[in-house]
């Protein structure tokens, strides 16, 4: 057997994939896919506009697309729609950040202390199963008709998926990596900072992505149950006025907030986790 043994190394592709991430590129779409998606949207809007009136469905049941648009304009001027949207966005973001921070902190703390984890895991499991949004009326009884209940419900729903994901990652850290660090005399804290924390990032981000979608649910429930601002409030208000278009629009804005939050998290994830091979 003859062999060109000397290890001639190929050049690294130096242009490290600093990919430009438009939202479309982020979810891996080409121009063809985009055209198809747009076509579906056009068909759906046309059906929405013309089918309900043709079937004689009243605008109090299903307002048409154009009616919703008109109501949207009215809401902007009459009802301070953007103010309410900002209020909801602010609460969602604050609740998401605080809930994530507490969730991650508890996840790491429990991961570092097996005793605490064993002691507390039944309670965590119970709380995780409890429907968090059902706490909303309770928070209103405690904190009144302010932004606080919405914030607390948001924090609560975001907290658990992040805690569970982080804890899971701490428990599945590669033991051999930890042993390697120990052979190099690293302190417990250095092992956490240099091995466990970075190893947990993919899981943390998985939790953050789930949390970002839950945050919108949390804030909506909080505002639905009580308070006089936010998109959740507009939904109850519209319901009281039999203004179906207003409810539609508020739901639409909530969805936009949800997508925006998710996109920010996803964008951050591709940045932070650039060292993971992507196919």
């Amino acid at each position: 057997m003859t062999m060109a043994i000397d290890d001639t190394a190929a050049r690294p592709d130096t242009a490290a994939p600093r990919r430009r991430a438009s939202l479309a590129a982020l979810i891996g779409l080409g121009p063809r896919d985009l055209a198809l998606i747009l076509a579906v949207a056009l068909v759906a809007i046309a059906a929405w506009e013309f089918v309900p009136p043709a079937l004689g469905v009243s605008r109090y049941i299903i307002p048409t697309f154009s009616q919703c648009l008109a109501e949207f304009g009215a809401m902007v001027t009459r009802d301070n729609l953007f103010g309410h949207t900002l209020h909801t966005l602010g609460t969602a973001v604050a609740g998401f950040l605080l809930g994530s921070a507490f969730g991650a902190a508890c996840g790491y703390a429990l991961g570092l202390s097996p005793l605490a984890e064993r002691t507390l895991s039944p309670y965590i499991l119970a709380l995780q199963i409890a429907p968090k949004v059902a706490f909303a009326p309770l928070f209103i009884m405690w904190f009144g008709y302010t932004f606080v209940p919405g914030l607390l419900v948001t924090m609560l729903v975001v907290f658990f998926p992040i805690l569970v994901n982080v804890l899971q990652s701490m428990k599945t850290v590669d033991r051999d990596l930890v042993n390697l660090a120990r052979v190099y005399h690293m302190s417990r804290f250095a092992i956490f900072r240099k091995i466990e924390l970075p190893s947990s990032l993919p899981n943390l981000f998985a939790g953050l992505r789930i949390g970002s979608t839950l945050a919108v649910i949390g804030v909506t429930v909080g505002e639905l149950v009580g308070g006089n601002s936010g998109l959740g409030f507009l939904i109850t208000y519209g319901e009281g006025q039999a203004n179906t278009a207003m409810v539609f629009n508020a739901i639409g804005m909530l969805t936009v907030i949800g997508i925006a939050l998710y996109a920010v998290v996803a964008r951050l994830e591709t940045r932070v986790l650039h060292w993971i091979r992507r196919s």
Binding site: N179, P198, W275
Partner: protein, 259 residues
Amino acid sequence: MTPKLELRGVAKAFGEKGSPTRVTAVRDLSFTVAAGELVAVVGPSGCGKSTILNMVSGLYGPSEGAVLIDGAEVKGPRSEVGFMLQKDLLLPWRTVIENVEFGLETRKLPKAERRRIARAELRRIRLEEFADSYPYQLSGGMRQRVALARTLAISPELVLLDEPFSALDAQTKLVLQKSFSRTLSESGLSCLLITHDLQEAVIMSDRVVVLSGRPGTVVDTFAVDLPHRDDPLARSTLPATQAYVKRLFDTLHIAEGAA
């Protein structure tokens, strides 16, 4: 002269004393590695080879007997011992050069000095131009070479290798055996090489220690009296090599039958 490494009547059992699930991995194990010597350890799967390596690296102590480095008993991880597994254990979030620096970070060295050492190690394994790449951009063989660079960066006196080539394809394996052998003999390190591959044991080592099935104990040990320790390919073409491999094969066969 005191040997670099000595195992003196070592036994290791896992699990509670008296428990039915207690497993004795190795027992009554004694052998040495002289300074500058490369000793290969072969034995059937599960006979406690990795256990030996973990005890020598100070991750846990033996149940009986003692492990001595330079005549002093091993009580915990020691800074003159380098350690490398079948898995490359590169940190995927660090660049190649940052990975090579990993073991130096517990030394009191200025950052620039760490960089300099790491760069020199990368140059030695000829991967300098990959310094700023991430592990996922490297092939398996390149990653294993980076792992060797990380191991050698701390200037160890004793290097422990646990099947470092067994995850590689046949051709990469030959390339790496050659480059490892050259690097290890250039630096005059003492080395314990654990392997499944009998041919590898003969072509890379000065001496071979053969273990029985679990609980592992030494059933044979012999010097490999062949030239070219720094060039396993040259060695593999020598007719005498096959005789050593045959001897190993026979011994292991008998050892397994007896276990």
